[in-house]
């Protein structure tokens, strides 16, 4: 099976516009740097041919952009969705955040995306260009010239611990449908759980104190699509624009994680975009792990219309006191 490449997607995107399936395409284009690829809306075949890119740095999850994009006019939006993105896509449909009729979804198989932080760790700073052929990544830096790195060495953590390569929603599929994977994604959560209280506090104090409240995690999160975020709302009693001390660093991340609890599909975008490299996905995974142990396994976005655990209950649910103990000890 051939790996999906840029040429194939450009062809597909152009075709969808030309045959009238969609009147705009949501895809990726190059940003300031080769590795800094951003989501973009393409209105013409010309534009697609000039700017559309796809490669190992196209980690960005496009599903979130459908909320705003589908509201603009009546035509259909075509979108390319990697397996993780399809879960977010379903979750947004569950929450009725956009009209399914206005979207033409193209599922694309994925074997993992590269993590630019890992590339930088190996190649050093000052990257001038970066390209990948699916096996190796060629990097040219200001200081060290050209280097070749094995792609497998720079695969993102979230992809190493990928929970599913299955596209769970699409109108058309490119590549294989893929399968749900038994991953070790909760290992790090378990490790933190097994730390002492002081160690846990130290770990998070260290991580969260790095937060500069750039809001990148929130802005990229496909579950954070609120019309108005509580943190931007002066009436919410939670408004805060910048963390003044360690309380607000924590407050922001606890509330954000709680707001997406049961809705987060574990796509890992928050950690990808964090300029401070804070492992924010661990907060979400903690909730997912707890939900799985307390209430039975639940994968947000696996099915449209499923009832999120926080808007559901059973009469025999675990008591909070027990839950806290279980959340500490359940490291299976």
């Amino acid at each position: 099976m051939q790996k999906i490449n840029s040429t194939m997607l450009i062809e597909k995107a152009a075709q969808l516009l030309e045959n009238g399936t969609a009147d705009r395409v949501l895809g990726w284009k190059k940003g300031e740097f080769d590795y800094d690829i951003t989501p973009a809306v393409f209105n013409s075949v010309d534009q697609i041919k000039k700017e559309f890119v796809f490669g190992d740095f196209c980690g960005a999850n496009l599903s979130k952009y459908l909320v705003k994009e589908t509201r603009k006019g009546d035509g259909k939006v075509a979108v390319f969705l990697k397996p993780c993105d399809t879960y977010s896509f379903n979750q947004l449909l569950t929450e009725k955040r956009f009209d399914r009729e206005k979207v033409y979804a193209v599922g694309i198989s994925c074997e993992g995306m590269a993590d630019i932080f890992k590339v930088k760790q190996i190649a050093g700073d000052g990257i001038v260009s970066v390209s990948s052929d699916g096996e190796n990544v060629k990097v040219e830096t200001l200081y060290d010239g050209e280097k070749t790195i094995k792609l497998s060495d720079v695969i993102a953590e979230r992809c190493i611990n990928c929970k599913s390569r299955k596209c769970v929603a699409y109108d058309e599929l490119m590549g294989e449908e893929g399968e749900i994977i038994d991953s070790d994604r909760f290992d790090m959560v378990s490790k933190i759980e097994s730390m002492s209280e002081d160690e846990r506090f130290g770990f998070w104090q260290n991580e969260l104190s790095k937060c500069i409240r750039c809001n990148a995690c929130r802005n990229v999160c496909p579950a954070c699509t609120c019309e108005k975020c509580v943190f931007d709302n002066p009436d919410s009693c939670a408004q805060n624009k910048a963390p003044a001390d360690s309380f607000e660093e924590k407050m922001f991340h606890i509330i954000r994680a709680f707001h997406v609890a049961g809705r987060c599909t574990d796509c890992g975008e928050c950690s990808r975009v964090c300029p401070q490299n804070i492992p924010l996905h661990l907060l979400n995974r903690k909730f997912i792990k707890d939900i799985d142990t307390f209430y039975g396994e639940y994968q947000a976005g696996a099915q449209v219309g499923s009832r999120a655990p926080l808007v559901d209950y059973t009469e025999g649910d675990i008591e909070p006191g027990e839950a806290v103990m279980k959340g500490e000890s359940e490291n299976a």
């Binding site: 929450e95 699509t225 926080l310 808007v311």
Partner: protein
Amino acid sequence: MQRIGVFVCWCGSNIAGTVDVKAVAEALKNEPGVVFSTDYQYMCSQAGQDIIKNAIKEHNLSGIVVCSCSPRMHEQTFRKTAQAAGLNPYMVEISNIREQCSWVHKDMEKGTEKAIILGKAAIAKVNLNAPLTPGESPVTKRALVIGGGIAGIQTALDIADAGFPVDIVETKPTIGGKMAQLDKTFPTLDCAACILTPKMVDAGQSDKIRIFSYSEVSQVKGFVGNFDVTIKKKARYVKEDLCTGCGLCTEKCPQKKVPNEFNLGMDNRRAIYIPFAQAVPKVATIDADYCTMLKSGKCGVCSKVCTAGAIDYTQKDEYIEEKYGAIVVATGYNPISMDKFDEYAYNQSKDVITSLEFERLTNAAGPTAGKLLRPSDNKHPHTIVFVQCVGSRCANCAEKGKEYCSKICCMYTAKHAMLTRDKYPDTDVYVFYIDVRTPGKSFDEFYRRAVEEYGVHYIKGMVGKIAPEGDVLKVQASDLINNKQIHIDADLVVLAAAIEPDKSARPLATMLTASMDTNDFFTEAHPKLRPVESPTAGVFLSGACQGPKDIPETVAQAGAAASKVIGLLAKDKLMGNPCVAHSNELMCNGCSSCERVCPYGAITYSDKEFRMPDRTVAIRRVASVNEAVCQGCGACTVACPSGAMDLKGFANNQIVAEVDAICK
């Protein structure tokens, strides 16, 4: 900015004893928004209320804080006071400095400090209060009575008498309840059937009353004035409209070995039966657990003998949906199981019986046709021992029996003892008691008569062991007055079993969202002042489902519950609770989280047009709350990720203001 008045109540010395009320009034004077602050001995008194009214007018107050007893006591009082002075009643906040301060603390300094903080919290909240106006909802002018014992019958009759239609739902094939099983009633000794059966007939014949017998409530939705109830009519395999109650089928049915529950299993009935002669409705019922036809398809005798053609073996459970404005719970009681008290050998000897079984043994319509014969050998017992408080007044940690006094046992035991001595003077009757409790009109006189005129032996002490030996029951007991252990060879032992709420009450309470105490008795809205109402609006309590009661008390409560129902049904519209949720459409994501947690289905969605900042128009799905249906729990407000959903009267910023005031 609000103009707030603060009123600190002394509650005599209830508050002033532990809280320096003057210091509280003084300290709160300087809080933001406060323009007036005072204290008074009894704020809830007319004079106290006048102080509030005058201050509202004089200082042009826009909100008031009353530092007093629990809002559960007088919030309504002060809201009315405010309203009388032209202030919106929801601009009143109560600071609970009695139940939650002066009564639980002893130190004056600390108590005062806490009272000030609680006052500040209430002021912080009032600063953010907005006038609220309750919505209105219509009232369905029909009542539902659940349970067809004397409590339910009396309630239904009284409601019907006022001209409102009432439905009675009874799980048994007939109404009548426990009272129908009794022989005579204390303290007047009139026959239970003679006073009950006319009422049963009245209920059966009233054009305002419908009786759903052999039925149960399976679902309750809605709220006061507008309940939607589903009633399950269990298949009785007899067409009620055709059956004449002639009883021929109950004589011809070949299945004769069915324990007769009406006689507490002391004799047998047929598989098709009418519980007793005066049953209402007088309609036969087939017991599907025993009917050969229903079990194996072979028999059909009843169908053959029924000239009315009323038998229908294909009948299915039927579900009826009906709307009600008010619901009365009258589910009654049962004696507890004697399994955990087998030192009394209830499970080891037929001649150890409960008091209710004794009623049947002395009842003319009972298994012995009213002759007192003991169950084992049908001989007349010459020595009878009554044991009081079996399973009543047990410590909780004993893990058997009930903690409460069952209330009726002392009197019915005195009655049993007296009647036995009256009818069979050759019988020795012993009553073992811990205390004899007879608070009721003519009750103690009754008990004394049993002792003085009828020579019943009352012995203070308890029975410790009953051992059947030969044809006697060896009773070993204590006589505390004489400090002796005594041994009696008895022929019959009667246990005054504790009573407990019917098992159907707990699931029913859940359906009704009515609260219960730890013993599964329904809780009243106020133990003294609202004893026949449950805290859930529109749900009323009648009879022993609320606590152990005798017949006169039950009937009194039944009438009281009926008058409350009549008062409700007489209204055309009900004012709702204005503390309801509302959604800010500009922030609403339309995600349905709130809808999923709403227990009342009060939230609906619609697509609305919104002007976007770039001047385009977007259509978005947004939530709106049906204020008549919303009960104001606030589940939606937390489910809402964007904070678009908020609760009037308990808004996010109000609660946060309280938190801030407390933690400051």
